[in-house]
Amino acid sequence: MSETQTPERAPRPSIRGRLLAWLLGALVVAGVVMGGAAYQRAHQDLDELLDYQLKQLAFSLSRQSLGSVPVLPGTPSPEPDFITQVWDRDGVLMFYSRPNMAIPMRPRPGFSNMDWNGQSWRVFTQLDGVRIIQVAHPLSLRREMAADFARRAVTPLLALLPLLAIGIWIVVGRVLKPLSSISSALRARTPASLQPLPHEDLPDELVPLVGALNDLLQRLQQAMELQRQFVGDAAHELRSPLTAVQLQLSLLKRASSAEERAAAIERLERGVQRSNRLVQQLLTLARQDPQVPDAATESVDMNQVAREVVSDFEPQAALNQQQLRLEPATEPVLIRGERDALRVMLSNLIDNALRYTPAHGSVIVRTRRDGPQALIEVEDSGPGIPPEQRLRVFDRFYRVPRAAVEEGSGLGLAIVKRVAQRHAGEVSLDDARAGTGLKVSVRLPAFASPASH
């Protein structure tokens, strides 16, 4: 049930959203830090200022003659939050600024903090010989003032936050615009049109991305081109055997005698076999494509592969009165590779050799360990290939122009080369040791098994 539903996806992170969140978060943190610092600073300044004021107030009271000061009740102090009280030497309250707020006397002179009536108070006490003067005000007042100051310092920043958010949103959007133009350019690419993305006017940070994308596009285009060419060549090549088949079919239809019919059927069969073989070879070539991921590799003894393939071809060689001989190495010639591909490679080599070798000619297959390499040689006594054509024979569909040879697919050596390349090996063509023939050598990296010396 739940498998058919798409799993709930975590919200996709957006660069724009992230930048916005991080920048605004940083601003808020900065605002808080700023507010805290302002509060601390203001509190300190207020402490100094208000302590000084307390002192001044007490000092000015001490100089006033008591006669001019009304005793009960006193007038309100000029500073609303200050409480002023005066006692005589005997501890009799002579004056107080707030009738309902009688703070107990602190006989110790100087500054002190005091908890009273549910509040913290800052108190200054002065003894001037005849009187005790005490001035106090609540500490909460200082906190409020400092907080107020801090608030006022931070408010403009916080007020600007929404504006900043809008600004960030717009600017980030602008900065990211090239990304959306790149994606729309990419979306316009099709397998038929893989031209590189424009990289003018791009910000520095995007140039490597576009460069990498363009590299990929170019590789894709090359691969597509190769593929297209291969399909075109393959279709073109298939036309020849199909033409032969169609012509032979016409001949069969026209055949009037039993012998003619038998001959036509035999020719038709050869034509069909040839088409079959070409298709088979095309498939093999496609499977050996460098872009196809490696099949499972194993330790392969080329002696054994050669024995198997040679025995496959023995009937054909006998039929054509050719001598097919295997000269294997005395010890196993091990390589690491794909057994089937290696068999196909050797089959193609032997098939080619037999095809171009006349009756009573010979084909020799040798396997050998040559230092770090495994060497496989197929030597024939055919007409050979002139040196100037030796490079071209590896091209797909290239046939050495020679008369009176049963048509090959033109793919044999191309397949051999592909397989060798997939095994990090190489193929070379030389003259045969004796006579005019051709010697094809395949060198593959040998695989040292612990059993071998």
Partner: protein
């Protein structure tokens, strides 16, 4: 009719030669342009069947070269390249017609006849001379309204004479038309075929011009 086939594919070459022989043509077959050059210099051919995908020298390049040096033999091009541009290049390169692989033997034969007809300056598909009519498509002869059974060689000989009525063809020329390479020519083969034709069509139809060769008698 003697044709030159230039084709590197053995199976196709074999089948085309066999099929065209059945149609009454004599076919010489070479596998590349070089051998084709030699053949064209030594024998007169009614038509050249040219596969463009030849080894060594490209067929189209060779065709252009032939036309440049004044070779007038009609050319029917056979190719696997079927793009319009390829066909245009082939025709402009000097081909008289164009056949794309894979093709049918009957179509090939029909196109060969059509090219030969056009080349001979005739539009009508039938060869006619007085009371004698030849249909190259069916290789049937009619004499005074009655069908006449002819052997392949007799037909070929009569067709050669009918192509250009009034022209005198030597015995050697007729032999060239009748026999391809490697075919044994009996010393009096032409005389024997003429003898048979005269018996079937009346003694006066084919005239012997002493020392020169044979020609068709003017119709009454």
């Amino acid at each position: 009719m003697r044709l030159l086939l230039v084709e590197d594919d053995n199976m196709i070459g074999e089948a085309v030669r066999a099929g065209l022989r059945q149609e009454g043509f004599t076919v010489d077959w070479v596998r590349d342009a070089e051998q084709g050059d030699v053949a064209l210099r030594t024998e007169p051919y009614a038509l050249l069947l040219l596969d463009l995908g030849l080894p060594r020298k490209n067929g189209l390049a060779w065709l252009r070269e032939l036309r440049r040096r004044g070779e007038a033999t009609p050319v029917l091009v056979i190719t696997a390249r079927d793009a319009v541009a390829d066909r245009i290049a082939g025709l402009d390169g000097g081909a008289d017609d164009y056949l794309v692989k894979p093709f049918d033997l009957d179509e090939l034969a029909a196109r060969v006849r059509a090219v030969l007809r056009r080349h001979g300056g005739r539009a009508a598909p039938l060869l006619q001379h007085g009371e004698l009519t030849l249909d190259p498509a069916t290789r049937q002869a009619t004499w005074k309204g009655q069908p006449v059974a002819l052997s392949a060689r007799e037909y070929a000989l009569l067709a050669a004479l009918l192509e250009r009525p009034g022209a005198i063809l030597s015995r050697a020329q007729l032999e060239q038309r009748l026999y391809g390479w490697g075919e044994e020519v009996e010393s009096n083969a032409v005389e024997v075929h003429i003898h048979h034709l005269r018996r079937k069509l009346g003694a006066d139809t084919i005239r012997n011009v002493r020392g020169l060769g044979y020609t068709l008698a003017k119709p009454e």
